[in-house]
């Protein structure tokens, strides 16, 4: 059993709204980028932000660990993705635009408009991160060209009948998940699109390192591991305390594809063992602690959602982003 990091080692504060996106920078994964409903993106250095950090009283002051603040979005930031070279990142949000930022100068290099609704996800893709793939509430997946100056997407997939909640790029395949309950995988090499019917609105996609499986979160409080080759279900991850029926909550594979980590509607973070589906651990984000045993139901009305989780690919470390505006970085006991 993998030793799952369960000690908070950093707390990133400063956001004044729920944090919807969290992403590790590319190797060596030193930094964390967080995007929030307060329309800002913050670049943190977790090592500089001890768990005892408190959000600064005034927003002008720098929270501990904050490196840069990026402000250009007009609406909440819904997703962040960092390119492999660590010098650019893409952010999308409620203002229907896809922003390509330069990390150093904190300015947007490109702004792609064209979506008709909020852009739920934007990821880099292609050779050398030459394209950005974005999925939006308007049901389309658009592929934008970073290299050219065209304002029109290279390609647009409008097969989804409802909002596209997540997209990812794996090699030469673009995978999109939509509220219409289907996962569509466009293979550029063969020119075919494979449609998998999940049956429930899909909110999060993650693909294994090999690319043969993909993890699908859906709004029936289930996380499924699907075989991409034949569409069969490999494993379903559930728990009594795991609630995910309303909000878009991220799930991800981690630690060499050995665990499944997912946020939830009610502020819990769950970790399952991939192979057998047993719950590894549960965490309550707001209390920054692991919860053992039964979990008491939270009172209604608490917007303590853990909408994003990110696992560091290299270290035993992962982060959870909560509705209170804080991002907790969990690691092993030092």
């Amino acid at each position: 059993m993998p030793f799952f990091p369960s000690t908070p080692i950093a707390k990133l504060t400063g956001h004044t709204g729920p944090v919807h996106a969290v992403a590790y920078s590319s190797s060596p994964h030193t930094y964390l980028l967080t995007g929030s409903a307060d329309r800002t993106i913050r670049l943190f250095n977790p090592s500089k932000a001890p768990p005892s950090s408190v959000a600064p009283a005034s927003s002008a002051a720098y929270a501990p660990g904050l490196v840069t603040k990026y402000s250009a979005h007009g609406y909440e930031v819904l997703s962040i993705d960092v390119n492999a070279a660590n010098d650019k990142f893409v952010s999308t949000g409620g203002d229907k635009t896809v922003f390509l930022w330069d990390v150093q100068t904190a300015q947007t290099i490109r702004r792609f408009t064209g979506h008709a609704g909020r852009v739920n996800r934007g990821v880099f893709g292609g050779e050398g991160d030459s394209v950005i793939v974005s999925g939006s509430f308007d049901g389309t997946v658009r592929v934008w060209d970073v290299r050219s100056t065209s304002y029109k997407p290279i390609m647009m997939f409008s097969d989804a009948k409802d909002s596209v909640t997540d997209v990812l790029v794996f090699d030469a395949e673009i995978v999109s998940g939509s509220v219409d309950g289907r996962v569509r995988s466009y293979d550029l090499r063969s020119g075919m699109c494979q449609v998998d019917v999940i049956g429930h609105p899909v909110t999060s996609l993650s693909v294994s390192k090999k690319g043969t499986e993909c993890l699908v979160s859906s709004l029936d409080s289930t996380v499924r591991l699907m075989d991409r080759g034949n569409g069969q279900l490999l494993k379903a991850y559930r728990d009594d305390a795991f609630v995910n029926t309303e909000l878009r909550v991220r799930s991800t594979l981690g630690f060499n594809d050995s665990v499944v980590v997912s946020g939830s509607d009610d502020g819990m973070v769950f970790a399952w063992v991939l192979l057998d589906g047993t719950v590894l651990q549960k965490f309550r984000h707001s209390e920054m602690r692991e919860v053992k045993g039964k979990v008491d139901k939270k009172e209604k009305g608490n917007k303590d959602v853990v909408s994003a989780v990110a696992v560091c690919p290299s270290r035993k470390e992962w982060a959870s982003a909560g509705g209170d505006g804080n991002v907790i970085v969990w690691g092993l006991d030092p």
């Binding site: 647009m156 019917v197 429930h200």
Partner: protein, 601 residues
């Protein structure tokens, strides 16, 4: 001649406009022909053209040919009878076609500012008849310009003091054209018809001018002298102010021998209107009195009912209208429907045949209303087919339905047909029909009644994939494939080779084409068009080499053209769409034609 004479002669020389360019007036023309000359501008009217076609020539007269001698010169004529030939009659003078009403007033008209009463009978030294009303009486009235006006108050702009009869609006030229250059020393008083030089030129005036014939035209308009005892008038007699002669004086003491009845006393004499009012006869009675045969026509009063006639009488106040008889229409004019007012057919509403047919067609392919009541639906289709002309019998009426309900139902059907006919054109392109299950025939028969009461929304057909997913049976049932066509740029960015467009055979569902087409990229030239062009190039040769049609088709093209008509019917395969999935032409051809902007590897 020395210099002075030459100078004098030069002075007297003037530059004149050519006769044919003068529109009005002429310099020193023959006075008697002045009228003629006015209209010599060659008008090619239709009448002239027609006459010419019939053999008439200009300057000829119209009429029977005259036997006379040839007139070689103006005044010299050969007197030989032998030299008499048939000639066309002499052309007669044309009547004036100037607007005659330009200067005409009604009888008794008195224009403004008449100078006096003794002016009407001016006898002017006038050359001809017709120009009277053109020139007016300006020549003699000019010296009297200063005479005070007596009638009107103030002088208007257009009112000359001396020119009464001159209508300022008449169609006569008031303009005096200067037809000569260098004639500044005109001391002539300004007259209406400027004929400059008329006074200066030497005119031959015969010494002996008889008063009678001096200015009078000799011949009437047809060339004959007036009847004996008559004299052609030179001007119209002015009848406006006739001298009134007083009645003769009655000798005193004279009594009339006739009895005088004071006016107004006419016993026994009825005026026509009185007689009409007193009459009690109507048209028919009068006709019979007179012994007329009755006209076969019927008046409208035979047909209108009594009440209508009475209404008319009361409205118009005419009580002498014939009685309304309220007859029926004569044979052959009867309206078949109206003759049976109690028929059930009246309840069947009218529906346009095309609408009914369209509503029926919609039912055949899509959806029919009254899904919950099959009997009603069959009645609906029956009504539609009746109105579409497929049936002729009355729509059926179930035994338990009263006639009024049945009639209402038919009205409802008519409205439903109007509403539910398939939309065409622009509206149709905006809407698609929902996929709904047809009659819930397989529903539980016991619960059918309950369902009829509640109008359920038509259930979406359960996607088998969805059902499988809900059951948790993920696998082949939940997976489907369809092709999409990644753009070349996209493939380039991903560093993959663009997939060949394989015409898919079985695995693509019917929606596959739609999807593939929907995810088509925005290319400048669509694939289908490009392939078409490629084929054209390959079969016909480059457009530059194609011959224009008038050069004729060379032999081999004719043969190939013959070969083509054999394949008459194109197979339409709904599943496949070759336009979308045809194999792409090789890359090299594309590159050769269109070139490539991006850097190619």
């Amino acid at each position: 001649m020395d210099e002075e004479d030459k100078a004098e002669a030069a002075e007297s020389r003037q530059l004149e406009t050519v006769q044919s360019f003068e529109t009005i007036g002429r310099v020193g023309g023959n006075q008697s022909d002045a009228l003629f000359g006015l209209f010599v501008t060659e008008e090619e009217t239709m009448g002239v053209k027609i006459a010419q076609k019939m053999g008439w020539r200009r300057d000829q007269g119209v009429g029977r040919k005259v036997r006379r001698t040839a007139r070689l010169d103006d005044n010299v004529g050969a007197n030989d009878a032998s030299s008499a030939h048939m000639f066309a009659p002499k052309d007669s003078r044309m009547m004036s076609t100037i607007r005659e009403d330009a200067n005409r007033k009604g009888l008794g008209y008195q224009s403004e500012a008449r100078l006096g009463t003794g002016k009407e009978k001016e006898s002017e030294d006038r050359p001809m008849l017709a120009l009277t009303f053109l020139e007016g009486s300006s020549k003699t009235q000019a010296p009297k310009k200063a005479a005070p006006k007596k009638s009107s108050f103030g002088v208007g702009v257009l009112n000359d003091t001396g020119s009464d009869d001159e209508d300022p609006y008449e169609l006569g030229p008031k303009i005096t054209f200067n037809k000569t250059i260098g004639k500044n020393k005109k001391a002539k008083k300004p007259s209406k018809f400027a004929k400059p030089g008329a006074g200066e030129q030497h005119v031959f005036k015969p010494k002996k001018v008889s008063a009678q014939s001096a200015g009078l035209p000799r011949l009437s308009h047809d060339g004959k002298p007036p009847l004996p005892g008559f004299v052609l008038a030179t001007q119209y007699i002015d009848l406006t102010s006739k001298k009134r002669y007083p009645p003769p004086q009655i000798p005193p003491g004279w009594k009339s021998s006739k009895p005088v009845t004071p006016p107004g006393e006419h016993p026994g004499q009825q005026s026509v209107s009185d007689a009409a009012k007193a009459s009690t006869l109507d048209a028919k009675a009068r006709a019979s009195l007179l012994g007329e045969t009755m006209l076969p026509g019927k008046s409208v009063f035979d047909f209108i009912p009594k009440e209508a006639r009475d209404r008319l009488a009361s409205i118009t106040g005419k009580t002498n209208l014939p009685q309304g008889r309220g007859e029926g229409a004569p044979e052959g004019y009867q309206d078949p429907n109206s003759s049976k007012p109690k028929d059930l057919w009246t309840f069947v509403p009218v529906l346009d045949k095309s609408t009914a047919a369209a509503a029926l067609a919609k039912g055949a392919t899509g959806w029919m209303p009254y899904a919950e009541d099959p009997a009603k639906r069959t009645r609906y289709t029956g009504f539609l087919s009746l109105r579409a002309g497929l049936r002729t019998d009355l729509p059926e009426r179930p035994a338990n339905m009263p006639v009024s309900d049945w009639a209402k139902e038919l009205q409802e059907f008519a409205h439903a047909a109007e509403v539910f006919k398939p939309s065409t054109g622009l509206m149709a392109s905006r809407f698609t029909s929902s996929t709904s299950s047809s009659l819930p025939g397989n529903a539980n028969p016991t619960s059918n009644k309950n369902e009829n009461l509640l109008r359920k929304a038509a259930a979406k057909p359960e996607d088998p994939a969805e059902q499988a997913a809900k059951l948790g049976m993920y696998g082949p049932m939940t997976r489907s494939n369809f092709p999409f066509h990644p753009s070349r740029l996209l493939c380039k960015r991903f560093n993959v080779r663009p997939p060949p467009d394989v015409p898919h055979s079985a695995d693509a569902g019917p929606h596959g084409d739609g999807h593939g087409f929907a995810s088509r990229t925005e290319e400048a030239v669509s694939k289908a068009a490009m392939e078409r062009m490629m084929q054209e190039v390959l079969t016909k040769g480059a457009p530059a080499l194609q011959r224009p049609a008038w050069m004729g088709i060379p032999e081999q093209d004719k043969e190939s053209a013959k070969g083509v008509p054999e394949v008459e019917h194109a197979n339409v395969d709904v599943e496949r769409n070759d336009a979308l999935t045809k194999e792409r032409a090789p890359e090299d051809v594309f590159r050769a034609i269109f070139g490539d902007d991006d850097d190619e590897e």
